[in-house]
Subunit: 563 residues, 2 copies
Amino acid sequence: MSVATVTTASGATWQEVAADRQAHRAATLAAIKPALPDLTSIPLNTIPLAKEFLTEAEIKITESTVEELVPQLAIGKLSAVEVANAFLRRAGLAQKATNCVTELLPERALERAAYLDAYLKEHGKPVGPLHGIPISVKEHLAMKGLDHNGGFVAWVGKVPKEDALILQILWAAGAVFYVRSPQPQTLMHLETSGNLYGVTTNPYNTTLTSGGSSGGEGALLGFRGSILGIGTDIGGSIRSPAANNGVYGVKPTVGRLPISGWLSAMAGSEHILGTIGPLCTSLEGCKLFIKSIIAGQPWLREPSLLPLPWKEEDAYKGRKLKVAVLWDDGVVKPHPPVTRAMKKVVEELKAKGHEVVDWTPYKHDEAWAIIANLYFCDGAAEDLAIMKESGEPLRPLSEHILKNKHVQNHTMASLWKATQKRDAYRTAYANLWNSTATSRGPNGELQGMVDAILCPVGPGSAPKLDTSKWWGYTSQWNLLDYPAVVFPVDKVDPAKDSAKVEYTPRNEDDKFNWDLWEKYGAEGYKDAPVSLQLVGRRYEDEKLIQTLEIVKEETGLPYVKYV
Amino acid sequence: MSVATVTTASGATWQEVAADRQAHRAATLAAIKPALPDLTSIPLNTIPLAKEFLTEAEIKITESTVEELVPQLAIGKLSAVEVANAFLRRAGLAQKATNCVTELLPERALERAAYLDAYLKEHGKPVGPLHGIPISVKEHLAMKGLDHNGGFVAWVGKVPKEDALILQILWAAGAVFYVRSPQPQTLMHLETSGNLYGVTTNPYNTTLTSGGSSGGEGALLGFRGSILGIGTDIGGSIRSPAANNGVYGVKPTVGRLPISGWLSAMAGSEHILGTIGPLCTSLEGCKLFIKSIIAGQPWLREPSLLPLPWKEEDAYKGRKLKVAVLWDDGVVKPHPPVTRAMKKVVEELKAKGHEVVDWTPYKHDEAWAIIANLYFCDGAAEDLAIMKESGEPLRPLSEHILKNKHVQNHTMASLWKATQKRDAYRTAYANLWNSTATSRGPNGELQGMVDAILCPVGPGSAPKLDTSKWWGYTSQWNLLDYPAVVFPVDKVDPAKDSAKVEYTPRNEDDKFNWDLWEKYGAEGYKDAPVSLQLVGRRYEDEKLIQTLEIVKEETGLPYVKYV
């Protein structure tokens, strides 16, 4: 049943293919026991639905963190089966509330969980560091025997022979895969809207987007239909949904985590590289996820990866942080709730004696021009051809990104020039960071540099549907390949965010964004999570995570309760 | 004077430009004191010329290793000026014997050396770990204020405003730059023949090539006109000249050493990446070179590099080596002296209890097809255009490589397919290596794998001029981005290598190579150094060097005296 037979290749229309995929999804939801409720109406904020329809035991499990579940599963205090059942139920409810699932996997998940329970009983020890932990998976990643369409109608019917490498490693570590989540058409939206599964909304405010492209994961996590999910990110696709749903999300440096087995148009394109990473309700869970994968020596099987074990060393050894703050990228000014959240974090850091300096953005508009040009080096021909093949129409945000003014059909000569521009920009930015040094060590090494950049994740909280157009706050760090982590800080609160701000936009993108605030105001974005981003230097993934641990400890964030 | 005014841009013919560059070179040689001798004839083996024309003190200095000079220079037992003078003289003589220099830099070098001597006197300590060490530099690398033509006539007249990053770091470590060496037209020969400076020959047998593209370095090192030089390698360009001249050469993994400031056609092409590395008369010197550069934190200024300090850890901790031997790549069979050298090393390793297994080559012909296709993704249009610009004719080996059957003018779509092929090959080779594991560790990690592959550097010793056509033994490891080190083992000896070998070639390339042996025999390659190559896994640069240290210690190689 999971293998699609209604496909455009077999002569079906795109609408028939989509209807069949949705029917398949509905069937997987119908298989959940006890049965999921039918929602007669969907509230603006869907979070309270869980308390209404789930048992106390289910709520307790699904509102635990990964680090709380791991030890209980490892000794059998919780069974893998009861944990899997709880998450299947809550993920099903999340689907009904926000449309964030492509299929549930009750049969596979419960069989796996039962195996794990039996293993623990027989051997007296867990199979690995993630024994029994349910992990939600973006459909982008191959799963053996399941449809793998990458969000394109024309690709329905592809069935991988093996799991993506990251899933193989997580499996060996004890994971339970129980739900798959959608991605937008082309994967290149900061929202999640496609012709196969429709539009995913934000569980905190269903007039808003859950973000994207890993926005199925985002909504699942925000609703606690998952507490650990896998996303992918080439321009913000882990960070936007993590931020929009008030959870943690890590985009590691390229080359740390294995990506083989993900499906995308333009395979072989390496001018800008994407990464894979966790969305999680806790920072500790993100770290456990990354460490478990790295422990599996993925570089031996995916040779583009770096053979770097996870570094446990303390990057600070008791010294204070030096954090730079990018208040505004100089292109699109953030909405007031974002600035309010940044101010609060900065105040708290300063109060604890940490050094906070301003970061002057260096040509972020040019950075966007460079990366937008290198995303689609064939002028988006392949993407367009795949959609043409099925006849599915382009979604508005596909139009926005595939046909933006920076896209060109490159020749080799123009590609190499564009690559040199990219490299020159990277070098200039590295020198900018170097210029924050205050001294030199005994061997001439730079000292006293900024440890991390604190900045917005986007020019607002979770946006209204189809309005997520400015990628600059996230794509900047893909262009530079700097690791970045997003974290929940606050929520939009009309009581705090309604003061009128006079502002004259600098350009069209800025105007588009500011007009949205003028139009909807705090009331229009009510309850939307407000998250921030911390960015480290290339390959300093470990230090970045540690920096956020310190920031959290020192500032006490998040400042509101989410669930 | 060093800045060229006779250029094709100023209206000169390519012959006039070349004549002017050669006149410039002659002038720099004429400035050496005491004056260099005029050679009335050049012997087949030029090595004895040094003893004939240099002083005992000069010979002693220039036949020292880097690790012998460093401590003497650091305490002023030798002055940097006398060391620089000795190398200027011997490099000048090397030029007269083998045509391996584009210019000497007596003024710069002696001023620098005098500064270093004064510094030492004043501060009582050296400026850095390479205080006073003369380093020869391939013209490929930018040097402030000096012509930077990259081997193309049309490019004569380019003058960089700053030194290549690697030179800046070596300078800070105390190096003295005193000579620049040529590269072949297009940089893409395994020999060194160009229209600007002519053909570089092999100091051990002037009917042979010194290799390439760093063949100026190779001949300089073989003659001891240098004991430490900088080469660059995208298909064998460090290793071929190191091997042909009986010295050590290291091609590190891409991303360890900085390359910014090198000049090449198709800048921005990143489908196959080149590296930079040392040629040196000692392995210890190679290591000191690499460590000194890495200590300069090059990744802060060249963001594509990895922030990996040099790992000092012992990869073996007393256990024996497990070495795989690639006797023949299955495409072009090596000449008998190479096989003789491999047998000897293998016997010695086995005698010391090390494990030696055969390595079955995996489609090395396909590997060549992949890399030869990705070298020139524009169908070599840019290279051809640069040569057309000056009217200089293509050298035979430029024809050979630019117009080989695998070259194509890619579209984006065909480029991405070719890139996927490359990646699939890399994955298959990684799995091949994984398959040598004999057990799994407590976390499932592979154990007991091969530590390194021992193989030829080419399908013979130093080749006859214009016959270096099969790159497979070196380009294989560029395609895979595995670090590789070459080392001197023996020399071609008619007394040992003249036995008739019956062999029927497998293909055209094999026939071309075997016919050369049939035609010239051991006598035709007399005295040519025979070197071998050790290859490690990606990023295991430190382990690879340590492996060769053990191999050297256990086998007592090299088995002959070179100088």
